[in-house]
Amino acid sequence: MARDAALPITVRQLTKSYGTLRVLDAVDVDVQRGEFLTLLGPSGSGKTTLLMMLAGFVRPDCGSIRFGDREVIRLEPHKRDVGMVFQNYALFPHMDVAANIAFPLKLRGVSKAETAQRVEQALELVKLGGYGARRIDQLSGGQRQRIALARAIVFEPRILLMDEPLSALDKQLREHMQIELRQLHERLGMTTVYVTHDQREALTMSDRIAVIDQGRIRQIDTPKVIYERPSNRFVAEFIGESTFVTVDVRAGECTFQGIPLALASQPARDGSHHLMIRPERLTILEDATPAGVNVLPATVTAAIYQGDSVLVQASLPGGTMVSVRTIASGRMPSIGEHLRVGLKASETYLLPADESAA
């Protein structure tokens, strides 16, 4: 399963409507060879529909899907040769673990001896060696997840699709599996399209994230860019906590309520802009002001102890409320206290003006 066996996916103008509802609106996506791309969006955004179209289970109204150079949009599901992990795993209950994993090999006419060998290899790969004779209902949720994965990769598909495969697991197991899936992807190098509504999962696992809303891709980029430089308000709000503060830009100078701010990058045009503030990027300044930090005066309205951190709610001049996340070992601010809040110039990021209203 070498990386060069992976296929890139090219999606063009993919459109699907149910009645008047546009589920997908002329979507274009390029998934690179061997890339781990996550489709992230709220429920009903069209992310699962897009995945089901890649697998061939939903018929689009129009558009093009190419695996490598091959147009597959009218190809039946069983001829597409893509692996898929279903949300509920869809392991066949009338077959044991080995028969489930052998299923795609049997259909491809692989010899008995080779099948047995590859099934065992796949089981080893998902760390369940020796589980072949178990019944499906004897497996825990995490084990089922792994078997579903083993079944999806045993026939060495060059594209792997996953539909919220971790959503049925508890939080601890989910976080563990995220890392394991990611490692497995590094080893196998299959082009992977992963659907989730969990932003943390997307940030943890992906090479790139495509944020989808109302059938359109709102931004597609690396987790770092998506998080730190969202290209519109939807992406900024959907991923991470954020507050937006209205600032003025005049002749390249940015001010907030008359306080000058140094910016990470100059906005393209003058006028009113949205400054994105994430709680963990703000600091409470106790004494001296470090260089390259914008300072805002704030009044504490609440301080909440959350174990690993303290969340301070404060109001800025003009009444905008912001949250500040600071380490718990520090001093608990008291309500009504006047603070100075710092935001590094390199993290003072204005949303592109034309997208701000989105």
Binding site: E76, P77, H78, N88, A90, F92, F103, L107, F155
Partner: protein
Amino acid sequence: MSHPVGPNAEGLRRDALIERLALFSLTGPALLLVTVTMLLPVGWLFWLSFLNDAGAFSLEHYHRMLVQPSYGRAFRMTFEISFITTAICIVLGYPLAYVLSQLPRRAANICMIAVMLPFWTSLLVRTYAWLVLLQRQGVINSWGMKLGLWDTPLALVHNLNGTLIGMVHIMLPFLVLPVYASMRAIDKDYLKAAANLGASPTRAFWLVFLPLSLPGLLAGSLMVFILCLGFYVTPAVLGGGKITMVANRIATDIELFFNWGAASSLGVVLFILTGIILYVASRIVRLDRLLGGGGA
């Protein structure tokens, strides 16, 4: 069992007991009814089958069953007819249940009413209706000849054909319902997974759908088969005296010979054979699953 000691242990235990007794007492009326109308008469008939005409203990009724070939024929015919009826029901009912299970739920419910309709009509009415339809000058024969499909009236009734047609018609819902239920319970994702892994629709059916619907099919077949074993009216009316199933034989023994012992012994044997079939079937498929009709 050691009783826990502690505050209020005695009182709490009594409360639990009273609750259980109260719950059990709800079965009282039904239990009484079943005892009076079922257990006692059946027990009495069972007892009668071991008495000879003089009222002394004897196995003569069972002995007669072994030596008189007409009894053996009745049993053989009963099982043959039940088997053929079940087989025809499977051939007709399984594809029907499949189509219904693939329809949207609303449409399926409407079609299901059509399947259920015979259920709500008296068995006797349906049987005589078939008699009218199938006889020599009946609708089917007269239309068939008018359309030139056949020249002489077909012998559709007063024989095995008529009996089978009537029995299949009555039994079909008993097959379709459990099969439909088990097919509905099959998660569509299983078929998607099969397709995704490379199975054409035909292979997905044989490798995934059919095995998953099998518990329902077995439940339905078993129900049809066992109900067929006790058929009386349909073979009596549509069989034209040529079809003697065990129930018909029982009726003859009572009506003609007034021999309750002989009739009872037939019932006992049929009852035991049915019990054995149920037991064997329950060894093949877990009975709880079977009666629940669940697929997955």
